[in-house]
Each structure stands twice: as structure tokens, then as C-alpha cells.
Symmetry: D4
Amino acid sequence: MKLQKGSKLLMIGDSITDAGRTRPVGEGLFDPLGRGYVCFVNALLGAAYPERGIRVVNMGCGGHTVRDLKARWQTDVLDLKPDWVSIMIGINDVWRQYDSPLQPECHVSLREYETTLRELVALTRPRVTGLIMVTPYYIESNRRDPMRATMDKYGAVVRKIADAERTLLVDTQAAMDRALKVQYPGALAWDRVHPNQVGHMILARAFVDVLGYAWK
Amino acid sequence: MKLQKGSKLLMIGDSITDAGRTRPVGEGLFDPLGRGYVCFVNALLGAAYPERGIRVVNMGCGGHTVRDLKARWQTDVLDLKPDWVSIMIGINDVWRQYDSPLQPECHVSLREYETTLRELVALTRPRVTGLIMVTPYYIESNRRDPMRATMDKYGAVVRKIADAERTLLVDTQAAMDRALKVQYPGALAWDRVHPNQVGHMILARAFVDVLGYAWK
Amino acid sequence: MKLQKGSKLLMIGDSITDAGRTRPVGEGLFDPLGRGYVCFVNALLGAAYPERGIRVVNMGCGGHTVRDLKARWQTDVLDLKPDWVSIMIGINDVWRQYDSPLQPECHVSLREYETTLRELVALTRPRVTGLIMVTPYYIESNRRDPMRATMDKYGAVVRKIADAERTLLVDTQAAMDRALKVQYPGALAWDRVHPNQVGHMILARAFVDVLGYAWK
Amino acid sequence: MKLQKGSKLLMIGDSITDAGRTRPVGEGLFDPLGRGYVCFVNALLGAAYPERGIRVVNMGCGGHTVRDLKARWQTDVLDLKPDWVSIMIGINDVWRQYDSPLQPECHVSLREYETTLRELVALTRPRVTGLIMVTPYYIESNRRDPMRATMDKYGAVVRKIADAERTLLVDTQAAMDRALKVQYPGALAWDRVHPNQVGHMILARAFVDVLGYAWK
Amino acid sequence: MKLQKGSKLLMIGDSITDAGRTRPVGEGLFDPLGRGYVCFVNALLGAAYPERGIRVVNMGCGGHTVRDLKARWQTDVLDLKPDWVSIMIGINDVWRQYDSPLQPECHVSLREYETTLRELVALTRPRVTGLIMVTPYYIESNRRDPMRATMDKYGAVVRKIADAERTLLVDTQAAMDRALKVQYPGALAWDRVHPNQVGHMILARAFVDVLGYAWK
Amino acid sequence: MKLQKGSKLLMIGDSITDAGRTRPVGEGLFDPLGRGYVCFVNALLGAAYPERGIRVVNMGCGGHTVRDLKARWQTDVLDLKPDWVSIMIGINDVWRQYDSPLQPECHVSLREYETTLRELVALTRPRVTGLIMVTPYYIESNRRDPMRATMDKYGAVVRKIADAERTLLVDTQAAMDRALKVQYPGALAWDRVHPNQVGHMILARAFVDVLGYAWK
Amino acid sequence: MKLQKGSKLLMIGDSITDAGRTRPVGEGLFDPLGRGYVCFVNALLGAAYPERGIRVVNMGCGGHTVRDLKARWQTDVLDLKPDWVSIMIGINDVWRQYDSPLQPECHVSLREYETTLRELVALTRPRVTGLIMVTPYYIESNRRDPMRATMDKYGAVVRKIADAERTLLVDTQAAMDRALKVQYPGALAWDRVHPNQVGHMILARAFVDVLGYAWK
Amino acid sequence: MKLQKGSKLLMIGDSITDAGRTRPVGEGLFDPLGRGYVCFVNALLGAAYPERGIRVVNMGCGGHTVRDLKARWQTDVLDLKPDWVSIMIGINDVWRQYDSPLQPECHVSLREYETTLRELVALTRPRVTGLIMVTPYYIESNRRDPMRATMDKYGAVVRKIADAERTLLVDTQAAMDRALKVQYPGALAWDRVHPNQVGHMILARAFVDVLGYAWK
């Protein structure tokens, strides 16, 4: 398993990451990691590798885009001195284009998305042991659905950056697509975005598998 | 306009109809009709035809299927002695098949849907001046989406009954489909079911148009 | 219809406009426009002209007079860069003279009302595509009622300014008066000021008619 | 002063009487009489005639008509064995005709009002020392206002019964009319029905004056 | 009656005056004067002298001593430009000596009480039409009770200042003592300080009598 | 110490005993004994005699008189099968005569008090190991105060019964009187009835001393 | 994996199982399974075996002992017609002996525990496809700790029954003991009983491993 | 008894001291000392030595370590000018090492603990009449339990400082150990740290005994 003993893994993102975490920092006593994939990742790691003492910190914020991440990157990522950082962002960057078409100031274009994400990666790369790029996803099996099609483009950017920067890559869209072969989107997520517990475990499994997680 | 002076129009259905109405009966002082299409229908009628004194009663209940309507038909429809009744049901009959696939006891099959709806219409027809059948809908433009495809079948049943029973028919799916030509589903409804105010006005316009509503 | 594609219509006023809108800005997801005529105007426009993509922003504040509007005009109107602005103010300017006769510091005289309103119009006229002046009203059919008589004078000022400045004019008092021919004031508004949903639709219809709204 | 030492005065009526009293019986420690004229009557009597030990009980209920009073007369009046009873009812009997014109089942006709009130008086007269009939009122100075005109008819019934039955009579409409000579209705009551504290003191003064109250 | 037409009467004091008034200023719509003697004074004046248009402002604060009044005298009295001012203070100055004997920093000595009160009177006298000095009281009939004895000394200071400065004087202790001849303290005030509504009316009657109030 | 190993001591009474205990039975985990003398008695016993395992149950109810105790004696005392029972009742029996003089149905006369208390003692005596009679008290040092004088008569009844029935006796009035030699009543109890923590410890000390409590 | 396609697995127990589940039945939309090991078991199964459509129902109740389970076995287990049932009970049976030593009526003896558990198993065995016996545990590594020693005896009973009845067995104490080799109890559970998320995942992993769960 | 007449005893510490005290300063009317040993100490002193007028101030704060005490020592101790100060700190300094092993920044080492505590004592010694050092404790009878063993080392530091500085010393661990001879830890404290009322009385007795408290 790639995370070394005593590593601090900081996971940042939007509401999928947040999932009701504690403020200001999602770490400490009384289960402060929320109810989503971050909580599952922590529980899976803690149960299987107790001797590694992996420290998981949740810094997700509901509604955020990559533009919001940039604004708080210094205080919410770098200042906390993580060893590993995971970034899962982009759903809101795309969603606002579809649910708030009249408010262009809320939209983050593909260009801005890529530029900003590259900037954050470049800033972080030299200061950490490892980076984990996580694609955004949309729980919609029809790839010609306009929002799904757009989301795929944003996911492609994440894959491109991960490849160029040689970071780890978690392809959540691929994981969701596998589940969609046997399930209707509504059985995984009320609004095709916020998953139920099964959907969060799909994300968590994809995440820890990339880390080389062994169940036993 | 088809509603005669002093008519009482009772509108029954699920959460789309309910929309936060007052209990036990959605009528009276202080805007008890909720925030949805029923409220809009009432406001449009009241503003354009004040001299008709149309009395609108909202008896929608969130989460209900046609099976639930049947169980409360006597107390919630017949006992209130309406002159006109509108029925908009079926979304949950279909939705549970897709969001709760493991709980078949919550599913209402097409057969049960048709049988029950016919039964309610037969029971009501002789006691009222007019019946308004309203189709269920799904705010999804991809007609091959499984849930959309199923919803279309339930809508077809409504059209068939309206035709056979010579009731008025409001085709909400058709109205939504017109809007979907220029808008993404997410801009009308967070979960493709519960519309925002624009979506509710689309429903209300389709409804009053069938009644022969004249704007001026 | 006068509002061009992609226009931003900012509606400002008192509690009738506010009607429970979201703070700080009444725009965005989850129906932030309140429960009054602004919500109805937006829903009517969105349902009939989806392809125009009209953006409606509610900046009403309960209890405000024209004096209060002036104090927040820069931040709440000009800074938001609207294409169209509607102004419906004056009810509280008059009402306080009648419900709080002992507190003259809360009264806005006819002179101050006219001067301030002209000032706001002059400030705004050159920066927008269109201005919509909306009269205040009082839901009282007895024109010799002292507060009704005063309200009529404030309404006349609005008409005078609209005429001089060649803005659009919505005469809400005239719309209410038509309804009062067949209804007692108490059936439209508990306190003769805050309308129920039918009363708000009367306002909304008067509003969109001035814009050249076509029902179909 | 007409109330004998140790008398129990039960005051029944609608929301004007209720005014936030304690349930189920408006009597006891911690100021259970609400914030209206009943509280003022009790305080005026207690402060001026402490040695009489007058016991005031508030049994008002918001929204009630004479029909509602009849339904609870046994438990809420007779069972409590009062020495004196005051009845102030009728505002809702009239108001519903004007604010809910479409719901005739909420209206209490003049005939039903008179019949029921006479019935309650006949039932109570033989069991108490004294009865105090209190007219309903409407805080509207225009006597041609339709609701004011109707209210006057209901008030006339109260005067007629008081005269026939030789009970005491409190003419609250006359008291309010005196105040309306120098004040606009809105300065006494937000909705022309529920008075502010000055309005409630006008009622209380009219009430205790009929009892022969001496200020000093 | 001594208060001229259009006068503004500001009443300041402790929790007896406060009685749940609105913040920051106890004046305006919706009965903001609390539930105590200030509310009763206002209602009695408004009901008997509507044409005078007396404006009553409640600036009481629970728990305050004369030391606290001094600290807010500029903002809470002088800045509001009253025509008349009433001051009822001293109960907490004494009470803390008895309920918090171990915290001498909360006690206001007789000397500090007199000096500060004189200072406030001197500051205010030249700026107002009239001053009304109100004694503190203790609802205890045993004059040898230590707290009652102390309270009497503080009351004597108020009488002395009122006499020297030729202000009006309301002797609330004398009014309460008259009531205590027929009532046990506990029937007027749970804790011998905070009166019930009858006790507050005793205060209000003593207050308006000093103003030359005529009941009719 | 008189309480044998494994004894169950049930303490019943009014609000002084209750002090916020858990319902329906004041026993179990999470400090269910309230914040008054019962809690202190339990803590003192538990800390000094852990090996005795004394089980303390609080069955006090705020506002109760001996009449109320009788009504619940079977379910709240006998059914719980205590080994020891303490009874502290009478304060409300007296207090209502003074704070609610107009409501004689709330008063419990000295005769009824004695009869009922004897009845409860007779019923309980044969079924328990020991009975502890606790006098009511009034935190007022002036013995000629009417309520204090009455309370002393009720206390005398308790002493008489304890003597006749040879039960233990806790004289709380005597304990409070000792404290009143150096403290004003208001420093022990806001309303001369409900003590602060020092006052409750005075009660608890008097209680455990009667049991033969040894501090060390 | 042992659970067949379409199986319904009902999990019953105490607060560890409950973990905030929905009432009355822990199944349906919106993540009703609580935040504990049941939620994890469901998420792990749903993510790895979506095509099996396993239906998980949580019927845990905080504070329950085997005696409480028996009382609700018919309604809460048999009536719900599960295919598989898991039982994890015993912690409270033991805990009350240690945290409430003075209340023997709350203690469930080893004999009663065994007898009742055998009874429930016998009742259920013939009606289900499979039974999963889960041991209670105590997160305390000192096996000579009295409560740990007692818990081990109750766990032994579970193992004995599982062996005799040939049910599946989940040894949670063994799983916790493995974790305690590298962690202090306080890092897994605040009170050595209610685990944090890592502790719940340890339970869930032990549970699904017994079912033959394959991570991939 | 060592506390002189009129002394002010300030008690500082963590949640055991805090126990729900009033903010910002735990002193004054309405029982502001919380529900723990501080409340008991005050009640025991007040009941036995009323003539001494000892003033007890609670400045405990839940979760604090000696590091936190240092940060607020000036405002929360020195500025309040106590005559006596008691310090009970160290439980969280140790606990975080065991319940949050992954967050070393929350741990207070033995060295930092001793240095800081000496610093606070040195700062305070010259300004007060007396200092009372209170050891931390852990309600665990197994002295080889790792957290108990660590806590014993921190307690030894307190004893060493008390000895060196000749302050009074309260050995709470010794007091708890005596109780643990006859009770299981869970019967005194749910989490082995926060005692129930019996546990708090054990602390209070140990505390007042050191002061030379005489029960009678």
C-alpha cells in the first residue's frame, strides 16, 4: 500500500468530498470526516492498516469549483502540510452550466478548469510525497446527454494532467459506469450527483484500489 | 372558460400537487395551496376570472401512488363534494421501480395503475361536473432512458382513459418536452421530477389552457 | 415582448417585492425569488419565452421606503449591472403616516418621495436598456379613505415621472381597483397591503402585460 | 361597582378575548390572561378593588364564531360555575363572509347568529348573577364599507338581546368610533380587527365603565 | 393632564420598566413597550387622550442599577430628545446587597446612588419639559425586614431629590403598601419584586395620577 | 449509618425534591436525580459508603401538595417497593393560600394536610424498613410573616406525626433558620422557597445527619 | 458469496447495530441504515455485488438486551420475512451489571442470556435460509478486567450456539483484539463500547468475510 | 478551616472543573458553578461555614490542557484577583495521546506539562494567600493500563511541585482508587474520565478535607 507509515492524506473537493465534515478542519475526535467516500476511505485504511497510522483530513466544501479551491489552497491545503493530497473537483464547474444557464459568472470553462488545476498541481507537486487526481463524474449512462458529454471532457483533462504529472489517477466515472450497467442512476443518486452509501463505497473502493489496498 | 361560476375544483396527486399545502385540507386563508402548479392555477384563475368565484382545493400528498389515492379517495375527494376533480398521479408509481429496485412492494405495476385509475374515474365520473386527467411526466429528453420510457407508458394509460371517459386531458409530458427543446432538464428540476417555479408554471399553463383559459 | 434575449431584469421595492426572497441577492438555484409577484413574473416569462433566457433578480426589502432604496441603490442596483430595472416603492412611505402617526421621522413626504424617485431614475436611466415604473397601491375601494387618497397622490407622482422620463409604467392601483369591483379588500389582502396569491398574480399580470407578454 | 366580593367573572369570546391566554383554562399564576382587554380588565379591577377579590377567567379562543361557542358552552362556561359571564362574539361570524367569500360553510348568517346567541343567553341567565353582552366591532370609520355595515347589523342583534334580557351591554363599536374621530384605523389595529394595546384599553375602559368602575 | 400635545415621554429603569420591550428602542409598531407598567401607562394615556398624541418610549433594561443608567444616559436618553423623562431605578442597587452579599463590586451604596442620580437629574433637567422621579419599592410589608429597610432609605433619596429639583414624584412604595394591607406579597409578585399584571397596574395608576390623569 | 446494605431509599415530594429529575422514574444512568438535595444526599452517601450500595430513587413532582401525593402513592411509592421512604411535602399546600388567594380549590387546609399525611404514613409504615418525615419550610426569618406562621403550623403537624409514628424526622425549617442567622433569605432562595445549591446542601446535611451519617 | 440474488438480510441488535437508523423500519430511500457497521456492510455488498440486489434491513435498537429482542422478535424479525438474519446482542446484558450495579432488574444473567438466545435461534432457524450469530465484544485489552471477563463468557455462549446450530459465526471480539494489539481502546471507542468509523469497519469486515466476500 | 473570612477561591481546570459553568465568569446568581465538584465544594463550604462568606469562582474549560491554561492565565486567573487558586489539569494532556494518537500536535508531553505548570505556579504563588494543587486522575484500576500508567506520571509531577512549592495537595487519584476497591470504573464514569455525581462528590470531599473541613 502506497501510503507510508505516519502519512497525512488531505482530501479536498466539493460536496461529494465534504459530506457533512466538521469545520474548520475535518479531523479529530468524534468522526469528523462526514458521511461520504472520505469516511469510507479512512475506515477502510484504519481497519486494514492500523499499524500505519494514516491520518486522513477532509477539506471538501459543498458547491465548490476549481476556482474556489484555488482561493483557499494556501490555507486549506499547503498550510496543513500534508504528505499526500487528493483532488476531486469539477462537478460544479460543469453543473452550473446546466442548472443555472442564465448566470455565466458561475460557470467555469474547460480552459479555466484546466489552467487552474494545472496551477494547483504545479504548486503542490514539489511539497508532497504523492498526489491523487480524481476525475469528476456524472451518474448518467447516456453518454450523449449534454451534461454527461461535458463532464467527460472535464474528466479527460484530469486524466491528461495526471498522465503528464505522473500522479495517481482515480477514474470515478469509470467506476460509476460499471455500476450503471446493472443499476438505474436513480438507485445510486437522487440527483445523479450525490450518491447514497453504496455510491460512496464505489468511489472509496476505486480510491483505495489505486493506492494498492489489500482487503486482507 | 369551462369552470362555471361557484365551482369547486379539487386537485389531487403526489408531491408535485402537494408542494407544501396546508393540512388536513388545502383550502382557506393564508395561501394554503402550497408553492406549486396548484397555487399558480388558482392565482391565474382568480386574477382573470374574479367574478366566477372558483374555489380551488389542494389534496396532494407527497410520495403517493395511485394505490395511496385509492385508500383516501372517499375522505379526501368524494366527501369534499367537488364539482371538478383533477388527478395527476403516477410519478411515484414509476419512480420507486427505479430508485428502490430492491423493494418490489413499493412498485405499482402498469396493470395495477390502469385498473386503479379506471376504478377511481368510474367512481367519480357520475358525481362531478367535470374530470381533468393529468399525465405524469419525467423531465428527461432522452426517450430511451428506461424511466422515461416507462413513464411514457403510464402517461399513455392516462390518455387512453381520458379518451374513453371523455374527460379533459392535460398532457404535462408534452408541455415539458417543449421546454426541454431549449433547456437542459437540470434547469427545470433538480432531480428531473420536482420542478422549480418555471417548471410549475409550465404545468399550470398546460392545465388552464385545457380549461379554455383566456389571458385577457 | 420587450425584454431582449439574455436580458437581466432587476426588480426592487418593499415587502411586496421581497416576499421572502433569498439574501443577499435574490437569484440562483432553489427558487430564490420569494412567493410574490416577482416569482410569478419570472415563472410566466420563463414558461412562455424559455429561449429568451431572461434573468430575473429580486432585490426587494420589507419595510423599505424610497429613502431606504436610495441608501442601497449603488450596491443593490447599479453594481449588479442590470439591463432592465423595475421600481415599486411608496407603500411604506405613506403607511407610516397612518399607522405610526406619532413618529414623523418615519414618514416620507410627497415632496421627498418625488425628489428621491426622480434622482434614482436620473441616475439609472443612462445605464440601462429599460426602466419600469410601478405605482404603489392600497387595496381599499373607498377613494375618500384618507390613506387611499394619499396613496393616490404618490401613485400620481410615479405616473408623472414615468411620463416625463418615457419609461414603461405599471399601474397596480388600477389593476387592484378592477379586482375590487367584484371582491372585498379582505379577500385579496389581510391588511389591505400584502396580497394573497391571487393578488400577487394581479400584480404580475399587470407587469408582464406592459412588457408585451403574449400568453401563447 | 357591580361585581360582588369573591365573584368569578368568566369572559368568553374570539381572538380579541383570547389574546394568548393559558390553556386549558385562562386562570392561575404567572399572568395567564393573555395580553388583551381581559388582562386589562383584571388589572384595573385588581388594582382598584383589591379587597373584593374578583376572580377573572379567560376562555376566549382565536377564530371562533358563535357556532363554536355553542359547541363548548357546557365545558367552557357552565362547568366552571361563574358568577358573571361576558360574551364578545361575532367578528369572525362576519369576517369570513368577506375574507373567505368562496367558503360559505364558514359563514354564520345573521339569523343563525341571533338564534344561537339567544340560546346561549337563555341557558346561562338563570345560573349566574349577571351577564355582560359585548358587541362585536370593526375598526373602520366608513360606515358604508360593506363589512362595517354587516358588522353593525350583528352589533344591533347584541343590543337587542341585551335589551330584551336586561343584561349589561358594552358597546365596543361606539367606543372604537369615538377613537376613530382622531385616529386612522391603521393606528389602532394592523388589520382593522386585532387592536394594539391602546385599542385593547379602549375595550377595557368601555367594559369596566359598564360595571360602575371608579378610578379612585 | 400635564403632558402637552405631541410630547415624547421616555421612561427609563430596570427590569420592571423593561418588561420585555423591543430592542434597541422600545417604540414603534407591534406593541414594543413590553408587558409592564409602561405598556399600561401608554394604553391608559392613548385611550383617554387620543387627541394629545403622546409618544411613549421604553428604555428600561433588566438588572440595571443607577450606575448602568449613567453609562448609557447619553445614547439612551439625551440623544432621543424626549420632552418628558421618568426614572425608576434603585431596586437592583439594593437587591444585590442581599442576594449577592459576597460580590461587593455589584453593590451600589446609598452615597453612590444619590450622587449618580443627582448627576443624571442635573444633566437632564435643563433639556426637558418635565422630569418624573419614581421611587424604587420592595413588596414586603414588614418594614423591619433588612432589605425593605434599606429600600426605604433609597426611596427617601428619590423623594429628597424630587423635592429639591421640583420634579414630579411617583411614590410606588406607598402605592404597593396600600395594596399590601389586603394582600400578601406573594399574591402581587412571585419574588417580591417583579409584579404580576395587577401589581403593574398599581404602578401605572400611581404614575398617571401624578400626571393629573382623568379617567373620563 | 441507619441505611442497611442494598437498601432502596425512595424520596418523594414537590419541586424541591424533583429539581429536574428524570421521568418517569428518577433512577438509573446519567445522573437522573435532578440538581437538588436528593442529588446531594445520593452523592454524599455514595462517596462515604460505597460498599453499602444504597439505591436512591427520586419521585418528586413540581407543584405537588399532599393531595397530589395521595393520588399517585400506589404507582409512585408502593409499586416501587422501597426499603426506606422520605416524604417532604407541604410547601405548595401553604403557598397557594398566599399566592393564589382567589382560588380556594387549590388550597390544602391544615386539617386535610394532617389527615392525608397520616393516611399515607399508615399505608406505608408496615411495608418499609424506615420512614423519614421531612418538614416543609419557608426561607423567611420573620416568624410573624403570615405565610411563615402558617408554614410553622404545617411543620408542627409533621413533627407530631413523626413523633407518634416513631419515624425519623428532618427539621428543614430549623436548619434554614440557623442559616438565616447570618444570611438574608434572598441569598439562599430567589423566591424564599427554591434554594440555590448552598440551600440544597443545608437540606441534604440535615437529611443525612438524621441517618447517622459520618463524614469520614 | 453466500447471500443469494434477491436475498433480504435483516440485522438486529443494540445501539451498535442501530447507529441512528430510520424508524420504524431501517430500510428505504435516503440512507436509512444509520452510521455503523450495518451501513458499511450494505455499502460493501452493494458496491461489490450490485447484480445480486441484496436488501439490507437494520432493526437494531439502542440499549437493548436479549430480553428486549425477544419482546419484539415477532414484529421486528419474523413479520418482515427475511431470508437471512444476523443477531448481535449481549453488550447491554453485561454492561448494566457494571455501570448500574444497584439495579439488578436491569441485569441479564448468563443463564437467561443463553436460554433466550437459543429460543430465538430455534424460532428463526426453520424460517430462514441462513443465520449469522455475532458475538458481543468489549474494547478492553486487559482480559482480567471484570467486565471483559464477563463479556468473554457471553461471547462463548454465542460461539457455542453457533456451533450447535451450525450457523455462521462472526467473532467481533477477536477482530477487536487484533486491532487492540496496535491501538489503545480509547482510539477506537470513547467508552470502550461504541466504536468510531474505523471500529465499525473492523466489525463490517469481520461480518462480510464470514459471508465469503471478495473485495474484487 | 483554612479559607479565611471573605476569601475568594478561584478553581481552574478542564471539563471536570467546568461541568457546565456560566460564561464568561462562573460566579453570580442562579447557580453558575456547573454540576460538578466545584458546585459541591461551594455548597459544602456555604452550608457549613456561612459566616465565612467564601466566594467560589469556577473558571474551568472543557478540553483544556495546561497549554490552554497558560494562554488564558492572565485574564482568567490573575485579573480576577483571587485569594486562593486551585489547579486541576492534565487529563487532556494525557488523553489526547491515547484517543488521538495520529495528532501529535494535540499531545502535551510530560516535560511541557511540568515546565508549564511550574511556570503558572511561580507566577501565581506571590500574589495569593494559598494555592491548591489537584492531581489529574484516570478511573481505571489496572495500573498497568498504558493510559493509567501515564496519568500516574503526570500526577507525580503535581505532587512534586506541590511539595517543592509547599502548596496544598489534593490527590484525586488516591481518592478514586479507594472507591475503585468496591466499584467497577463504569459505575463511576461512563468514559472513565467524566464522573457521575457520586464521583464528583468523591473529588469534592478530597478537596475540602485538605482545607480542614469539619462536617459539623
